[in-house]
Structures are given as C-alpha cells and as structure tokens.
C-alpha cells in the first residue's frame, strides 16, 4: 500500500498521531494473541478456551475500543477461515468482554493488588457472559453441545428437563466462569508486568 500526495497545499497535522497509531498497531497484536493462546492451551492440554484474555489485556493497557476491536477482529479472522461465516457473531462476545473489563478496570477491580476484587470481577464477567453466549449458541449452533468438556453436563440437564435451552445455559455457566476468571487473572498479571516505557495510553493533560 502506498500513498500519493494531495495536489492542494501542504499536509496539516491536526493532532499528534503517536498514540493513535500505536493503538491501531496493537489491534492486530491482540487478535493474534487471542489466536496464539489456542496453541498454548493445546500444548498445556488445558480444558479451557481462554481466547478472550488478550481482549481483556488490550482493554486494560490501551483502552476499551482497542480491546473490543482486537477481540472482534479475532472473531472475524476465525469466521473467514476456520469457523465459518456465522461464527463472526462471537465477535460481540469479545466486545462485551472489553466493555465489562473496562468497567471493572475503571472501578479498580482489575489489579493484582486486590486479589479478592479481581476474582470477584472474573466470576461476574463469566456469569454475565452466559447471556450473549446463549443467544449466539441459539442462532448459530441450534443450542447443540459444541464442547466435549461440558457435554456430560449438557446431557444430564437435558435428560432431567427435556429442554435444550436449560442444558445450554447450565453447560455455558460451567464453562464460562473458570474460563473468564482465569483469563482476567492472566490479563491482570501480564499487564502488571509491563514496563512503564511500553505505555499505550496517551498521557493525561
């Protein structure tokens, strides 16, 4: 991609672009980190997804729109490659995760200095995330069991209620709470280890 100069007048820089460009460049890094986490989970044979931790991390270190855009982009890439078109709607989960992480970060709960608040925030993110997950599972997967780790819970609830919605909600709760809790803890730990010179937020006026 190259650029051609305007025919009229010199370029006028209206505002410093330093942090803006850093944040734009960070978006693909967040998307790629979400993706590569899958490799690590595979290596370590862990029973979780953890493909939203980088969204949380991006939100903490660079702001809500960077985290949301990075997370959404991750889902777009997956939808256009491995998961198929309908899976792009999972991107809204990442947007939701970015917003709720930002809320907890603003009130000072996403910090390793307050472990109790961090754990509470992680559990709340997991519990509230069940709602958008269930809506998407209804529209894209027909409320079918898609994760072997919680399939037995799905089967048990379905057997006792005859209701795929209840089975899907209960198995989502079981999967989402530990997943989002550990993801938020990881995001907070990695953010706490970032040297100050890597700051990605513009200095306050």
């Amino acid at each position: 991609m190259t650029s051609e100069t305007k025919a009229t007048g010199p370029t006028v820089v209206e505002r410093p672009a330093g942090f803006a460009i850093l944040q734009i460049v960070l978006i693909p890094v967040i998307a790629a980190l979400n993706y590569v986490t899958g490799v690590i989970i595979n290596i370590l044979k862990l029973p979780l997804f953890m493909d939203t931790w980088a969204t949380m991390f991006g939100t903490v270190v660079a702001g809500v729109w960077v985290g949301a855009a990075g997370g959404f982009l991750y889902n777009i890439i997956m939808a256009f490659t491995l998961w198929g078109l309908p899976a792009w709607v999972w991107g809204f989960i990442n947007v939701y995760i970015a917003i709720i992480t930002w809320v907890f970060w603003r009130i000072g709960w996403v910090t390793v200095k307050s472990p109790a608040k961090l754990v509470t925030a992680g559990i709340l993110v997991g519990v509230t995330n069940v709602v958008p997950v269930t809506i998407i599972s209804w529209g894209v997967f027909g409320l079918m069991p898609t994760y072997a780790g919680t399939a037995w819970i799905y089967a048990a609830v379905l057997a006792s209620t005859n209701d795929t919605l209840s089975a899907s909600v209960v198995s989502s709760i079981v999967a989402e709470i530990p997943d989002k809790l550990i993801s938020l803890i990881l995001a907070a730990v990695v953010a706490s280890r970032m040297p100050a010179r890597f700051t990605l937020r513009p200095p306050k006026a």
């Binding site: 051609e4 790629a32 690590i40 044979k45 795929t164 730990v189």
Partner: protein, 284 residues
C-alpha cells in the same frame, strides 16, 4: 484447536493454477456469503447435503480438499458426534418420537431418534458448508488481492491494515511461542504435571510473548509512520483486481439459484424436500 488447524492459517494463501484461484476474491466472498445465508434459511438435510457437495467439489477443483477435510474432521465431526449422541440419543430431546435404532437395557430404551439426529445433522451440515466456503475463499485469494478488495469495497484502510496484519502476525507469534516454550522447557518448565501447575505455566509463556509483541508494536508503528500511514491523503493500491467473464458467470448462476430458492420457499416452505420431518427451532 489442533496444530493442524493452525497450519491452515500459517500457510495462508495456497498457490495453485486452478479455475477457483482465477476467480476474483469478491466473487468468492460473495459466494461464501450467499451459500451460508441460504443454508441457514432452509431446514432441509437434502439442501445442505447438496450445498456441501457443491463446495466440496469446488474445494477439489481448487486442490485444497486436504485442508478442508482436516478442518472438518477437527471442528465439525466432534460437534456432529456429540450432538447425535446427546440430542439424537435417549437424553430427552423434546421432539424425539421416531426411533431409528433402539434396544432395551435394564428396562430402559436406549437408541437413536430420527428427529434429533436430523436436527443435529442439519445444523452441523450448515457449519460444514459455511466453513468449507470460507476456506475456499480465504486460501485461494492472494493477500494482496484481499487488501485491494477491502479498499475497493470502501472498508477503512486502518481496518484493512489490521485484518492483514493479523494474518501476518499469527504465524510470527506462533513461531515465537514455540521458541519461548523450548526456552522455558530448557529452564525446567514441565507440561506433564498437575492441572494447577499447567495453569501457572501459561503466565511464564505469555509474559515474554506479550512483551515481545508490544515491543514490536512500537517498531511497527514507527515503520508505518515513516510510510505516511496516518497522513491525510488518498491511498492507492499496488494491485487492481478486476471482475472477468468467469466472475460474471458465477454471479449469474448465484442469481438464478436465488430465484430457485425463493420459488422453493414460496411453494414448499423452509423444509422443501424432507418428508415427515417438522421444522424444529432451537430451544423450541
């Protein structure tokens, strides 16, 4: 997700000299959107199987059938087996009425039911069709064409950059995590240990990976700025993909088939060919 699936994104564009490769990227992505949409509208196993046969044939023509088969085995097959075992089986799916195969065990009826099995087969076939169409569009379109198509479609160039940069970054970071993993193993990291210790291992792998990526972010930002990335000027493209006669032919076929599908919906409903199977809504 297995390492085989990652291999597909790592490899990205698969260079071949086939009819599918010669099609414009816009045509392929339009086909992807079109076939996905109609597969989710119809609730008919015959329609989805026919669609799957079409996309599989195209994958074969594009000589990417191995890629497609690998991804389907990793992603769709487990969902199909889980779904048939639970929803098609004796676990209480409310619509199950007609047993396909059943046996008595300790006074309980255990077997597969037609309604649940069809329900799962329709949903997983839909997934298989959209995934195959997506792979077909993605791995047969050159990344430079992809960028040009995005800009031509008036996608903001910053988003186009982010999309393409992610595709480039994934193999880079995957290689880096491999290096970091080997370094940590040489320092005593044990991945064959208790679950809690494996969770702790994520931190020692993620911190160097993330800090390295952030460091590169700053270098990348400087490089982009030196090329006038945020300069308020019109961007031009190195490649200029154009629609050809073959693209218009494919689009014409899609328009004709859209007419056929609309006719089927109006005359025979959303279950046009399956006899004796009712439309089952998720959770309904």
């Amino acid at each position: 997700m297995s390492s085989t699936a990652f291999g597909i994104l790592k490899s990205g564009y698969v260079a071949r000299n086939t009819l599918v490769h010669h099609l414009d990227g816009r045509t392929k992505f339009l086909f992807f959107l079109w076939i996905s949409l109609f597969n989710y509208i119809f609730y008919d196993l015959y329609v989805t199987i026919a669609s799957f046969a079409v996309v599989t044939l195209l994958a074969y023509v594009a000589r990417i059938q191995r890629f497609v088969a690998t991804v389907l085995l990793i992603i769709v097959l487990p969902i199909l087996l889980l779904g048939v075992g639970i929803i098609g089986g004796p676990f209480g799916f409310a619509h199950n009425k007609t047993p396909i195969a059943a046996m008595q065990l300790f006074g309980l009826t255990i077997g597969l039911y037609l309604e649940g099995t069809v329900y799962v087969s329709v949903w997983t076939s839909r997934l298989a069709v959209t995934i195959t169409a997506a792979i077909l569009a993605y791995v047969t379109t050159h990344p430079s064409d992809l960028a040009a198509i995005m800009l031509k479609s008036r996608v903001p160039y910053k988003f186009a950059y982010a999309f393409l940069a992610t595709i480039q970054l994934i193999p880079i970071l995957t290689n880096e995590i491999s290096t970091i993993y080997q370094a940590q193993v040489s320092r005593g990291l044990n991945v064959q240990t208790k679950l809690i210790d494996r969770f702790k291992s994520i931190v020692v792998l993620m911190i160097p990976l993330t800090l390295g990526a952030i460091n590169q972010t700053q270098i990348r930002a400087i490089a982009l700025e030196s090329r006038g990335f945020s300069a308020p000027v019109k961007k031009v493209m190195l490649r200029d993909p154009k629609l050809k006669a073959s693209d218009y032919s494919v689009m014409l076929i899609m328009i004709l088939m859209t007419g056929v599908f609309i006719y089927l919906i109006l005359t025979r409903g959303l279950v046009p060919f399956m006899v004796g199977i009712e439309y089952v809504r998720p959770g309904g």
